[in-house]
Symmetry: C2
Subunit: 208 residues, 2 copies
């Protein structure tokens, strides 16, 4: 199992390449030095990370940018559509959903498709967000199967987050992005990542 911090760096390398908009340039090469500078790591770290997955670059020439991008997309499994669900169509959930829909519609390399939202509020159930339906949370298991949802985002209040996570696990989803500010427990075959805006604030505080 490759450590999570390595995967996080690969995601940054891919993002760096996508941001450079290299899609049109067949002849562009990029050195580990340049890729490292843009991603905030050393050139040696770039070479060490990529070497875990195969031989991509040539000594002295660097990496063929377009091929490296395709390789990273394949490693990170973003070379195909991934259906994403979200529980808790509140303020955070709605903002995240609209953001994802916009990115998906604008960028061909962005492959996270919002498939469904889930909530318990009768005012919200039966509505949709730019075409993405809001289902009752009781229908989670059947909708996950029907829509092949592979990642579920948790945007419910902390008090119900563990109970909702257990439902998500029972429905067969193996990857969870959690926003609720509590420590969740999941079985060892489920991958959980807890996002937290305060980490970003703490990082900025250092530079004051």
């Amino acid at each position: 199992r490759v450590p999570n911090v390595v995967i996080r760096r690969l995601v940054l390398y891919l993002r760096t390449l996508v941001d450079m908009d290299i899609r049109s340039d067949e002849n562009l090469f990029i050195s580990s030095q340049e890729l490292g500078e843009r991603a905030g790591v050393t050139a040696a770290q770039v070479r060490k990370d990529l070497a875990l997955f195969g031989e991509f670059g040539k000594q002295g020439v660097g990496y063929h940018a377009l091929s490296l991008m395709r390789e990273l997309q394949a490693i990170l499994k973003v070379d195909r559509d991934i259906a994403v669900g979200l529980v808790g169509a509140g303020e955070l959930g709605m903002a995240m959903t609209r953001y994802n829909i916009r990115r998906y519609n604008q960028n061909p390399d962005y492959l996270f498709r919002m498939a469904a939202l889930f909530d318990i509020d009768p005012e919200k159930i039966g509505k949709d967000v730019e075409g993405v339906p809001i289902f009752p949370v009781q229908e989670m298991e059947e909708r996950v199967r029907e829509l092949n949802i592979q990642i579920m985002t948790i945007a419910v209040p902390a008090a119900v987050a563990q109970e909702i996570t257990d439902m998500v696990v029972r429905s067969g989803v193996k990857a969870i992005l959690n926003f609720a500010p509590i420590k969740l427990t999941v079985p060892s075959d489920v991958h959980l990542y807890s996002a937290d805006v305060s980490l970003d604030l703490q990082q900025l505080a250092y530079y004051l």
Copy 2:
């Protein structure tokens, strides 16, 4: 200047210690091995990072957990209140603001205090979020000075994000947390961090 990726790891070490709720245990020691495992990095990486800032641990004994936590708070400058502002009191802005207020009220180690929101919508200006006022964006410069706002969060639509960022820089703020999905340019003495939920999704996709 310490590289950003090192600061990001220090934030994780601090968060790990805060999450272990060690505040009450004067006699707790933690090894670089255990701290590394909880934070997702190698023991050697922990030692290398901490050594940049001084001698904290003893060979074979580990780090005194409470002292290490205080040292990290001092390094990351979170041993004092930091006033945070936010521009764009929309769905994301409101969710982030309420989240920060709740964390600040619940946890004595959480030192980011929401001081003010800014917006252009007449329906929102003059209101407040749990006591935090929403000011017109034209008043930013004077309110930043009056409230000593040190970090500004950007939660406006991408189309106006650069224009708003320029206003924030003119008002004297040196640290910006950006959520708008565009590349912003800031002067070299301003530190900018762009959060992006799609990075979290891409990291999870690897494990599917």
